[in-house]
Amino acid sequence: MTDDDRGTVPPETLLELRGIVKQFPGVRALDGVDLLVRAGEVHCLLGQNGAGKSTLIKTVAGVNQPDEGSLHWLGEEVRFPTPLAAIKAGIATIYQELDFVADLTVAENIFLGHERSSGGFLQRARANREATALLTRLGHGDIAPTRRMGALSPAAQQIVSMARALSHETRVLVLDEPSAVLDQEEVRNLFRVVRGLVAEGVGVVYISHRLEEIREIGDRITVLKDGRTVATGLAVADTPTSELIRLMTGRSIEYVFPERTVAPPDDDRRPVLEVEGLAQAGVFEDVSFTVGAGEIVGLTGLVGAGRSEILEAVYGARRPTRGEVRVDGRRLRRGSVDRAVRAGMGLCPEERKSQGLLLDEAVSRNITVSSMGRFARAGFLDEARERRAAEELTTSLDVRPTGVTRAVRTLSGGNQQKVVLARWLMRECRVLLLDEPTRGVDVGARAEIYRLVRDLADAGVAVVVVSSEIEEVLGLSDRVLVVREGRVVHSAPAADLDESQVLDLVMEGRAA
């Protein structure tokens, strides 16, 4: 079934979408989308946030029903009234936020909903055996089927999710930003798995913001913009990056990093943020660094190296076992976020939706949540003044769509990130901690966020940026700290490092 005689016969068309339109109240999320996925190809779906990628894959997965247009599966027009119908047909979707039951085992998760059983009794041994077979097919026979799902790393969880997809007769696999939570080694591993599947004749729809990944793994590209297909079936090999960016944005831009401020931070002045001997048993050890006013310090390393944990401990969201944090020379109480905020710190957390935002609340309330005191007299809020202040900020940050009373849930990733940044601008914080500030943010909004961070630094804020994208850390920071296995292994001005050096440090712990 999965035999694919490339070269002799044209590759089989698995899935075809023609003129798909999906209307939500007030928004035309999809406005005529065409897509054709063949067996044995990696078809990349590109587009900025809000271009309609999520709506599109939900339509393919049977979560949404298209209002117009047609869906063709193996040459026949079909409808997927439910997600189950799509899965049964052979389309598996792995969403960015993995869905699994953390307290069940790997095998139980793989066969969730179609358990291996006989007469209502579970056949555990058979399930475990078949799970191992599936995992081995993905090159991960090392994941024990009896392990608790929640105990696995995000990368392993993703592999198990793919095994679950394969446990059905899957012919099209949709991966929504699969690399977002992975470090470089894990991404490489993921690509190996994807190539293996493609060789078996599976069609893969691959969504990513990282153009370089698409270069590496993709065969053809479809570009969405404002709910429309602006280009489809472009061969990855013959399409220059600049062309892709132009198609996605409608204008030509590259990753632009704002220029560093020429004058280096004044060494005589006391640094704004001082971290000394910070440690948490088993997580990170002996972390010391300082950040001056106007300086951007980048923290990079593999996922799991302890970057985010260090940031959280500095912010008081995690209680360190040793060490201290000082802001403007004043020592902060360990493990107390509200003290840190009062001392002038602000954090834009890694998980914007679950840690950063009150999704159902208005934009204005998300912005003022950390500085409500400014708008209150004896505890009573002056809402008009609050709204005006929020409006000023959203206008200057160009948050779209405008209107601070709309729920922040309705904004795209980039605009949501701007809202979180606006919160700390409102607070006029002295130290800004950014954890993966551009994750899930499209190319255009990225440049704006970089600009904003640099402007804040120029205004005298001390900034710490955690990012797994080495390019971002090098481009944005003044100084780079490389974290490996819970220790800071290297610290150098960003200008003195290049990408391959950092990569070596990240992987090996020493410069080549």
């Binding site: 109240p25 969201a317 905020v341 954090l347 949540v369 769509p401 009373t405 709309r406």
Partner: protein, 351 residues
Amino acid sequence: MTESTTGVAAPLTKAPAADPPPPRGRSTSPLAALTGSGVGRNLGLVVALLILCGVGAATAGERFADLDNALTILRLAAAVGVVSIGMTFVITGGGIDLSVGAILALSSVWCTTVATQTMANDVHWSTMVIAAIAVGAGCGLVNGLLIAYGGVVPFIATLAMLASARGLAEILSNRRTQIVEVPGFDAFFGAEVLGIEVPVLLFVLVAIAGWVLLNRTTFGRRTVAVGGNPEAARLAGINVKRHTLMLYVLLGVCCGIAALMLIARTSTGSSTHGMLYELDAIAAVVIGGTLLAGGRGTIVGTVLGVLIFTTLTNVFTLNNRSISEQALLKGAIIVVAVLLQQRFARRSDSS
């Protein structure tokens, strides 16, 4: 202020007005748009209440449609109403309290012991008020400490309090009903202002104070934030633990006030006071439109929810129908109200 500012629904309902281009109301039917909004939700409750009043007037005639009867309903609603206002805060903040009835009982017993009554007669009757509120606040404090700082799940912590507080009330009172003989207390709570009794007025005052606190203050805003996304609230610099603690203390205080109302109405303190108040309060809060999962709360909805249940009881009593029938209908109302709410919630989510 209009109702549209009640709870978190406000920004949603205001959004179309602030942004002229995509008017959501146009794509759905006007009725759906109205019922989906904060105003509409409360309007639905008002309609339900009016229907109930219609049924009452039709079946019991003048015995129902009478000012005295209206005051009777309010008098009955007062104690459970005050508890429900407090409960609205706890539920909006992402918690639950099963111990309110028991706290009320303990409060009523503690402030009517011979010792307290003697002191009330010797010093001032307000000793009883202070005792009742202090006991309520104390129980709330224990609940709050266990939940916020001890990491005990609210359901379990307050379940334990439910058992213990009523047990302690029985020990203190020796399971006897304690009759109140404090003239000053009776005079205050028995007084009428413009023909309305003090307990009813207290209920109105607590409701207004609750509305202001939830909708107009930093405390209320933080309550919504803590209930909506505790992690995000914490990382935004809100002291979530302390706030949670305060929510339970606030509810404890409400229980103390409710205990005083019940003492005034029955002239007794008893370990059987406030039986099943936890269920009545939670039911009223939930049919009022407060999200049981936290993050959205409405005081006006809660007040309407309380009035609906109390009026229902009144109509049944006037018609000499059994309590069992009443309970059956109450259950049905809860289910229907929640089902309707979910439909409206889905409709407003999809936009």
